[in-house]
Symmetry: C2
Subunit: 190 residues, 2 copies
DNA sequence: CTAGAATCGGACTAGCGACTCCGGTTTCAA
DNA sequence: TTGAAACCGGAGTCGCTAGTCCGATTCTAG
């Protein structure tokens, strides 16, 4: 594909880049995708010029943030054991994705609106998650723990929807648990 | 509170106002809240000046559109019979809200971002829906058709989330039915 | 330590979108 | 029919934000 960056970044450049990513992740999650680029730069303690050198476009910054998130989720999902308890693992993974995706729907939406190739860059990362989900879904269905007529598209839509549901509940942990109970029981065969 | 408009609108003014509302509803639902105001005016066959005289702010236009939607939903929800079959009516109402709310989450989000008092104007309309939902929820719970530990906040969050789920499924009717099956079965006591 | 290459910072530009303003047009009461 | 109040239209204003440019400022190889 594409070569890695030949020359390692200068120390300060690397520091700034990392700082920008962290701050952007935080700010986007807190205040939405609409925040002016300049604020992110200021919060990271750099000028806008620096930001735009590292990420030539606001969309590129969003993409980088999303990428990191997806990779985190994919890594965590990969660690779940699939063999021993397929059903349990499936539900654990569902939980994982929902909990790690808090605030992500806005990102996806922003990226979708910004064009198709943005997705292309991310599909590489999200494909891993999708594959993992498909695998776990199949396992859970084979074990009779999830209704067999459900496909991957429905599962993903349900993940997104459940994330939205959780966002509307804020930090009420017991309410969140009740929602999980509803969704998980609904996924099981009657 | 506030008096109704004393003087009935002039014929052309009333026509334009109605047309703007219709077009805005359509365009917002189709292309999102980000559409330039001018496009809505053009699509309605009027100038921007006219639009802004009827709705002094883009937010006001959004609010008016939302209001009409909420009133429609409230009216339809009010017609459902509550006495005969509480459980069935509850699920019918759930369906109704989800199906009528397609694309609404974006509105709510936009309004929420625009300030608190926007909500105040709408709460009057949405209070009716909320009250109706609470009534039907209680009825269904009394009939043993919905798990008793669920409260109104969870129900509303679930409605919003299910709407999002449906939006991600597009027009795949059978997939939508499978989602309804999951959610409805999940709502029932184990 | 030093040269010079890489990086920084923030004033500046461009473009877009919400909203205003006012001369021209339409409605309607008498 | 007619006058004037209400309404229309769209060019223009204003503010905001993504993205550029270049002199000043580090970093690092030697």
């Amino acid at each position: 594909m594409s070569g890695a960056q030949e020359r390692p970044l200068r120390a300060d450049a690397a520091r700034n880049r990392a700082r920008l990513l962290d701050v952007a992740t935080q700010v986007f999650a807190t205040r939405g995708v609409g925040v002016p680029t300049e604020e992110i730069a200021r919060a990271a303690g750099v000028g806008v010029g620096t930001l735009f050198r590292h990420f030539p476009t606001k969309e590129a910054l969003l993409e980088a943030v999303m990428m990191r998130r997806l990779e985190t989720i994919a890594a965590q999902a990969a660690q779940l054991p699939a063999e021993s308890a397929p059903a349990e693992t499936f539900f654990d993974c569902f939980r994982l994705v929902v909990e790690q995706s808090a605030g992500k729907s806005e990102f996806a939406q922003a990226l979708a609106a910004a064009g198709v190739d943005a997705h292309a860059a991310l599909q590489e990362s999200s494909a891993a998650i999708r594959a993992r989900l498909a695998e776990l879904l199949a396992g859970a269905q084979r074990a009779g723990a999830v209704r067999p007529e459900l496909g991957l598209p429905e599962l993903i839509a349900l993940l997104v929807g459940t994330t939205t549901t959780m966002e509307h509940l804020g930090n009420d942990v017991s309410a969140r648990e009740r929602i999980f109970a509803v969704v998980f029981d609904g996924l099981r065969p009657r």
